[in-house]
Amino acid sequence: MNASTGRTIVSRIKRKMSKDDPSDDILDEIVAYRDSRADRTVGIIIVAVLVMNFVWIYIGEIGTNGRPNYVEYVYMSMALMAVCAGTCFAIGSRWWTKYALIGSLFFNSFAIVAGVDYTMMLLLVLPVVSCSIYYRSGLTKAAIILGALLMPIALIINDYISPIFFGFYYGMTMVDRALAVLKSYYVVNLLVYLLICVPCYYATKNGIDDVRRQSDLRKDQIGVEKEMSNARRIQQGLLMTDFPCKPYCRISSSMSAAKEVGGDFYDCFSVGDDRLAVVIADVSGKGLPASLFMAASMTLIRSNVQAGGDLDKAMEKANRELFATNSMKYFVTVWIGVINLRTGQVSYVNAGHNPPFVSRDGRYEMLKSQPDFVFGRKKRTTYNRHQMRLDVGDGLFLYTDGITEATRSDGTMFGEERLLESLSSTGRSPPGEVLAKVGSDVSAFVGEADQYDDMTMMKVDYIHAYDIRPDEGIRVRADHQGYTQVMGRIRQRMIEAGCPSRTITEMETACSEIYANIDSYAYSDREEKGEVLVTTDIVNGAVRVTFMDWGVPFNPLDREDPDPIASFKERRRGGLGIMLVKKICDEVTYSREGDCNILKLEKEM
């Protein structure tokens, strides 16, 4: 049945009457649904009535008892009923179908009583009974009155056209005769009729009340659904997208909840000046309670880790605090890592969570560690702090078991191997693309199968070491003793800045060359060696070492590169070091400011 059209018309009319109260829409919806069901029921009643009519015709009741002229009305009413019911079944409910159906029933009952047999008078109660299933008191009332009025009319017509009892009334006026008929048949039948109408009317009233109650319940349900979606919004708000780590890390995250509100979460927050914590977690359970537990876990982890101190101790404290609030015996699996943005050193704790993957040079490998007990479930849980190091350019891929346990319709899980394969295919793509690739691989794998668990992922790329404080520099006499001090200082600054070891070694080589040059040439014109000032800074992800001396103007970059293939005797002794410096560094610049030689070496980290 097509209920939607009926619904729109009913609600349009209702809305006009009730000043756009949105809650009436729900009532309209239920009423329209009831109407369509009632239409169908009345349609079936009509079919039954038609069968009854045919039986009467078959046994001769209708064909012989009535006058031929009036019997035709019965046939007409049957045809009308058939058309109404047929139409109703064919096109579905409309606002007018109930009037057509009830009307045709009235017509048929009336035609039978009037044209065939007045003892069938109570047949006129049938339309009233049919009305009562529409749950419209107005309609039922109108039908009761109409039936009560049609009964005497039918009776009088029947009497008037009946040839059998003509002699009985001989000599009476038409009015007297009608009154006599009404008195002897109508009064009693009317009482019975009204008795039947009473339960019909109350059935209608009760029906309306039921519909009202149902619509109230539905309204409550909508309220609950609204609260759920608000909870989801709050949860989404907790899960940030604007991470506090620019420009040192590049982070992307994605979460798709299996139910409205999920139990997975991820987090990312600063710890002190130069550290960044990344968290991924999975709460046992789903829905609103799990999301509340999630919010508590997230807050406690954050506050305890941000308070500083060792990560394992902070997590143990957070665990105790969460356990104290855990009346539902939930638990969380958590992987938390704290990245030192200066050095790339990562301390991490794994509370029963899936091991993350580390990306290095476009390759991925699992970061295995013995997981500790889940979080929030046991009061005295000890956690172990593990260590690893990220070089600039390396990254971490965190995920929940919704990814690895995403299940195909044949029961196969996505698994760690497929995940590794999917990750490896992304090479050095930025985090957003990595998540998109894994997401599409998982959905391609799962196909049409339902998703039972939240799927949450996070990719953190360590792209830029923390800018260290500007270097006030080290000033030494340009001799061998100064050399050791300068080289030690340069090395220490680069380690602090989190330079990869290879960059450190190469820069040390280059700086060694420059220092050797200054030592040899800068103060060759005087008896005592002058000073050299060296600063080491990180500028836009590059190491910059600046040498300043106050010796003779000397630009080492002017020298020609030597030809190393030439035989040793022909080889010029100098120039090899500078060639090395130029090859190692991305940029080497010389300038003379006043009486000062300034040489800058720069290399990307």
Partner: protein
């Protein structure tokens, strides 16, 4: 700089430890000069060298020249960083590296 020396069957293995730069290269030169008198060939074990500067390269070149008439020199256990420097300066084509 600490320099390990090991003599065996006319082959002397010289193992410098640390950085070979303009400060330490003369020590290596000294060791080479000393050992070349007796050794038939010199082997440089570079496993403990973290970096080598041009001064160090010159020392190796010197050694190569000194030993030219004998069995020459050879570098072993060259790490990535040192190999990179040898490559940059084309020394890897000039010296025997194992």
């Amino acid at each position: 700089m600490e320099i390990g020396i090991e003599r065996k069957d006319g082959v002397t293995t010289i193992s410098p430890k640390g950085n070979i730069d303009y400060v330490t290269a003369p020590e290596l030169d000294e060791a080479v000069e000393r050992e070349s008198a007796t050794a038939a060939s010199l082997v440089f074990d570079m496993s403990e060298v973290s970096y080598i500067s041009s001064a160090g390269l010159r020392s190796l070149l010197n050694a190569d020249e000194i030993m030219e008439d004998k069995n020459g020199i050879k570098l072993v256990n060259v790490n990535k960083e040192v190999k990179a420097v040898l490559d940059m300066t084309n020394f890897s084509g000039l010296l025997k590296i194992e």
